[in-house]
Assembly symmetry: none
Homo-oligomer: 218 residues x 2
């Protein structure tokens, strides 16, 4: 499991911390005690501190962390300072939520590797769903079932679907395969279908099971 720090527990940060905490070790930070308390039972560790204070931050976050996510909204200063501190502390991957293109440019220039625009991304997805009610991602199968595209792991290359026993071993189903050429699309591949390098498998199953495929040894 990886160690991730989430700073700023608004709707986005709190939601992220909770989702990640199911599979990783999460440290959740916020300067608002109520928000820290509200999440304390759902993450591995939750602390109240001001992320603008580098000493305070450095006392709980180190370069041993795998990633940090800065999801401080309203205060541009706090969002930027916090990101800078994390870069200095040496956290290898930093993601930051941005409020505008300019905000994003500043965050990138000081070292945030990935910028997130949560509301805009959610808006784009809802637009897709509204424009195409057939969209598979929104199957009413229930929350724990997902449709996901996954790059075929190396362990699957050259193997037929039936030999991989995906349904028996993972409780999953490959609804389609998209090939690297971008044009080949195989719907409901048969059991003898051989998986090739670069294949994208469109899978249905429970989130945990789909993630287990990722951890398939080489």
């Amino acid at each position: 499991g990886r160690r991730i720090c989430v700073i700023g527990l608004g709707h986005f940060g709190a939601g992220l911390a909770r989702s990640l905490a199911r599979h990783c070790e999460v440290l959740a930070l916020d300067s608002n005690m109520q928000r820290v308390n509200a999440i304390a039972d759902d993450v591995q560790r939750a602390l109240c501190l001001d992320a603008r204070d580098q000493a305070a931050l450095a006392s709980v976050v180190s370069s041993d962390f795998d990633e940090a996510v800065v999801s401080i909204g309203e205060s541009l200063e706090a969002s930027i300072l916090c990101t800078l501190h994390l870069v200095r502390i040496g956290v290898p991957v930093i993601r930051a939520k941005a409020d505008s293109a300019d905000h994003a440019a500043i965050l990138r220039s000081i070292g945030a590797k990935h910028i997130v625009f949560p509301e805009e991304e959610a808006a784009e997805r809802l637009a897709l769903q509204m424009l195409n009610p057939n969209l598979l991602d929104f199957i009413p199968l229930g929350r724990e079932y997902r449709v996901m595209d996954i790059v075929a792991p190396a362990a699957f290359h050259g193997r037929s679907l039936v030999s991989l026993k995906i349904r028996n071993r993972f409780g999953l189903f490959v609804i389609a395969i998209k090939r690297q050429d971008g044009a080949t699309f195989i719907f409901l591949p048969g059991p003898d279908q051989v998986i090739e390098p670069g294949d994208i498998l469109v899978m249905i199953g429970k989130e945990n099971d789909i993630l287990r495929i990722r951890d398939e040894p080489e």
Copy 2:
């Protein structure tokens, strides 16, 4: 193209209005003139008005609209009133952004058909991507493929899935079976699964093929 009204032009509402405007006729509304001006070039129509004012709203929105989206954030009162007005005006599908479970419950009880939690949804997706770098973002199978629930035709009762040869005869796949008791849910039913009267089959395939099953003779 459909006619959609988006009320509340924060990050989510503005993003949604712009995405939809590429394919539909969008009316964008906000009580803040600056936000209306900022979006005016990107949507078909943008107006400044207070959504709590039913007369003002009714002068620009009617039951001829296909959908409305209420994406007013901070003001619970405005979000709830606006939703109520839209219900009275007779817009057939209303989606509303909610701030909390309680807010969502209120919106649903007054007639919002779909509730959106944009930041939480974006957080869940980012969590998935962080946990599985193999994961490509959801890509639809394409418009002609559908997921549909159909009531098992009488010709299927008492038959096992493998004996029905659904994949070979119809090019379809049964991803799940929902039983009449409302509680039994069988994901990825096996080939020996016997279909019972009242079963609902969750099928994936081309729309025409799924409809052929419905027309299966008794």
